[in-house]
């Protein structure tokens, strides 16, 4: 097998990213949408770490740590909202969540 270069990682990341985007844009289930967002974030993380490896410094890794923090916060708040919403509306479908529509 050929040597693994940065591009390989980038491609994997791109694939994960696109999968995430598809999930976000098409799924009705909010939980899965949120999971897709996690996918997107992971893709970005992968990119960052790969570049960090490429340039031989750690900035990318530090950033990826921040992104993990961000992901945790996002998941917590998002799921919190979801639970609050579910308690009121008995649904977790995205297209039924449109209370703030103008």
């Amino acid at each position: 097998m050929a040597e693994i270069t940065t591009l390989h990682y980038l491609v994997v990341a791109a694939a994960l990213f696109v999968l995430g985007v598809i999930g976000v844009l098409t799924r009705r289930n909010v939980v899965i949408v949120l999971m897709s967002i996690e996918l997107i974030l992971n893709a970005v993380n992968l990119n960052l770490v790969a570049f960090s490896r490429m340039w031989g410094n750690l900035h990318g890794q530090v950033f990826s740590v921040f992104i993990v923090v961000d992901a945790a916060a996002e998941a917590a708040v998002g799921l919190g909202i979801l639970i609050a919403f579910f308690r009121n509306k008995e649904t977790i479908n995205v297209d039924e969540i449109d209370l703030l529509k103008w």
């Binding site: 985007v21 976000v24 844009l25 098409t26 995205v94 297209d95 969540i97 449109d98 529509k101 103008w102």
Partner: protein
């Protein structure tokens, strides 16, 4: 050995007071008496031994003995200093130090001695009163303060005793604290004393500022060094300020008003504090500062005039009072006036001698009156007494001796001291009109009259008390009559300590005190004559003449009183009231001085609608504070709020209304069609976002 531990003398009574403070409530009356009287007896014995030792120490030179216990005020080295008037630094220092010289020896002896007798008397007198331990605790505290006062070696420590006796006087006058009049009297005593104290402390400051020390020995040395002229302005001011203090403590015009009211306290207190010891503190202090006073003739003259005026003024009031203790109180004020008269004319020794004799007979009179009051079940009004001489014989006999003494009948104590003062007053006029002597002479006349009136109204005439009271009359217990007898003996014999030269005596008293009153070089040169030179033959004749005159006055006064009161029945007439009713009213109301003070200084009485004096000023200040100063503060607050309200309105309608909401309304109208794009699916928005991102990226990658 005892001399070195002189500081223990005040500490004995202080120990008693502390015992009462901590344990008094739980102690039996007998224990209280044992402790409190015991410590005073110990103090007296200690004092006697100390004095004996002192005489050995001084060898008749009057050399002062000083014992410094510790540095009280000041940092104990030379670094905390103040600037003297001449710009040189002086150490800020006041020690807990004790000074023993002939002057303090005299005070030490009679304070402890008379104090001891009065303590013993109190055991009987207070036996049935509540607050027994409190009373004795206060008495002990008083003894402590008084001893500190007379033994202090500097003005500041003297001030400690000075304020201390004031405090104890306050506490003891207010002993019956549930009686409003007692409390008022106590407050009055303390506050009036405080005025004097303020003067005193300023005087002390002046001395320190001028001479660089608070210590008597330093000050005396400086004053006698000859650096300062007679009539030195600063020293005159200092002397006058000190005299203000003396006025307060020794009840001179204009600060005498507290003393008559002080009779609200228990009778032993009146005897101890308001006759024998505390009120003589002023005399002591002036005598102690004699080196300053001789350099300030103006101050001396003031002292003499105030003394003379007080003497006759108080005597005039005493003529018509009906309360037995009040008569004695005014008598005390009057006698104190005598003493200041003596001091003012430069006869310090004579003044001190009068203090000494007065201590015995006035204490005796008060204690006797206490015994009388005790006998007639607490009645104090002489109009309700009479014919007691057979029923309480010991009291009668002792009081009679005291009356003779105070009236100046030879050879009792009062005769010698009073005539010495009158003689010195005559001499001070130095050929001019002897108005001081004249006033003194008039006072002597009045003294004899009111004292005789007291005796006759009390012990002679017909019984005027109610049946029930009459039934209860009894002689006082031994613990009360014992001190009376001792004091009577002293009153009779004390005068022989200072028999003047003119009567063939040696005037040992004056000789003993001479080192204290020795004059400095400057003053000695300036003095027109040496007061202690043996009198010439002419003088002697004059002196005899004056003696005869004053004895005559005493006899006349007494006789006059005999005529009017000896047979007084119920509703007897007051001679003055009969002959000059307006004068009687004025005298009876004590020249309306209290009322005038209430109007002018305290403000307790309103003049119409206006309140003057301290309370008036207080009310005015309160009004000023609440309305003007606080009003300004609140006004600032209100105006801020008003401006704020205005700004709020402006903000709400103009800024927000026109400036902000206007464009918003406009935007809302414009935006209506655009809104249709947003149809509520989150993912649609995300899709738009992705599309935008794509467009953006495409533009950048392939631009």
């Amino acid at each position: 050995m005892f001399l070195d531990h002189i500081w223990l003398i005040p500490l004995f009574p202080a120990f008693g007071a502390a015992m009462m403070f901590f344990f008094g409530r739980r102690m039996q009356k007998a224990a209280v008496s044992t402790v409190c009287v015991g410590v005073v007896v110990v103090a007296f014995v200690f004092a006697c031994v100390t004095v004996v030792e002192y005489t050995h120490f001084a060898h008749g030179t009057g050399q002062p003995f000083e014992k410094i216990v510790y540095t009280w005020l000041g940092s104990g080295d030379a670094h905390l200093s103040f600037l003297k008037r001449d710009g040189t630094p002086a150490q800020f220092n006041a020690d807990f130090g004790f000074l023993l010289d002939p002057l303090s020896v005299i005070w030490l002896l009679f304070v402890t001695g008379v104090g001891m007798l009065i303590h013993i008397y109190s055991i009987g007198y207070m036996a049935h009163e509540g607050g027994y331990y409190r009373f004795f605790g206060y008495l002990n505290l008083f003894m402590f303060s008084m001893l500190t006062l007379v033994l202090a070696n500097n003005y500041v420590l003297l001030f400690v005793g000075w304020e201390g006796v004031g405090l104890c006087s306050y506490l003891l006058i207010g002993f019956y604290f549930h009686r409003k009049s007692a409390n008022d009297a106590a407050n009055k005593a303390f506050i009036v004393n405080r005025i004097g104290d303020a003067g005193f402390i300023l005087g002390a400051f002046t001395l320190a500022w001028y001479l660089g020390s608070f210590r008597f020995l330093d000050i005396n040395a400086a004053a006698r060094s000859g650096h300062y002229l007679i009539g030195d302005t600063v020293l005159t001011a200092a002397a006058l300020l000190l005299f203000v203090g003396a006025c307060g403590k020794s009840a001179q015009i204009p600060l005498y008003v507290w003393l008559p009211d002080a009779m609200e306290g228990p009778t032993p207190v009146s005897a101890l504090i308001h006759a024998a010891t505390m009120v003589t503190a002023g005399v002591y202090m002036v005598a102690r500062s004699n080196a300053i006073f001789v350099l300030a003739p103006t101050a001396m003259k003031t002292v003499a005039i105030i003394g003379a005026l007080t003497a006759i003024f108080a005597a005039s009031i005493g003529l018509v009072q009906n309360d037995i203790k009040r008569v004695l109180a005014y008598s005390t004020v009057s006698q104190l006036g005598y003493m200041f008269l003596a001091l003012g004319v430069g006869a310090f020794a004579a003044g001190v001698f009068h203090v000494f004799t007065h201590a015995f007979f006035k204490a005796l009179l008060f204690l006797g009156s206490g015994s009388v009051i005790h006998a007639v079940s607490g009645e104090q009004d002489m109009r309700n007494m009479g014919d007691l001489r057979g029923r309480i014989p010991t009291t009668f006999k002792t009081m009679f001796i005291a009356t003779l003494a105070i009236a100046g009948i030879p050879p009792l104590a009062g005769f010698f001291s009073k005539d010495e003062i009158l003689w010195q007053a005559w001499r001070s006029a130095d050929g001019g009109f002897p108005y001081l002597w004249l006033i003194g002479f008039g006072t002597a006349l009045m003294t004899a009259f009111y004292m005789a009136r007291l005796i006759f109204l009390t012990f002679y005439g017909q019984p005027r008390m109610s049946q029930e009271v009459e039934h209860h009359i009894h002689e006082s217990p031994k613990s009360m009559t014992g001190p009376l007898v001792v004091l009577a003996v002293c009153s009779a014999l004390a005068g022989f300590l200072g028999v003047p030269h003119s009567l063939g005596g040696s005037n040992g008293f004056e000789k003993f005190l001479a080192p204290v009153f020795e004059r400095g070089t400057e003053a000695a040169i300036a003095a027109t004559e040496e007061p202690h030179h043996p009198a010439g033959e002419e003088h002697r004749k004059l002196e005899w003449l004056l003696m005869v005159l004053s004895v005559g006055a005493a006899v006349v006064g007494g006789g006059w009183a005999y005529r009017h009161y000896a047979l007084a029945g119920k509703d007897y007439p007051e001679p003055i009231a009969v002959k000059a009713p307006p004068l009687y009213t004025v005298l009876y109301n004590k020249w309306f001085v209290d009322e005038a003070y209430d109007y002018a200084f305290t403000g307790r009485r309103k003049l119409g609608d206006i309140r003057l004096g301290a309370m008036g000023a207080g009310e005015a200040s309160s009004w000023f504070d609440a309305k003007i100063i606080d009003g300004t503060v609140n006004g600032a607050g209100w105006s801020t709020r008003a401006v704020a309200t205005l700004s709020t309105w402006w903000d709400k309608w103009i800024i927000d209304g026109v400036g902000v909401n206007g464009p918003a309304i406009l935007a809302r109208m414009i935006s209506y069609p655009t809104r249709l794009l947003e149809w509520g699916l989150v993912q649609w928005y995300a899709l738009v976002m992705v599309a935008g991102l794509l467009g953006f990226a495409v533009y950048y990658v392939w631009k």
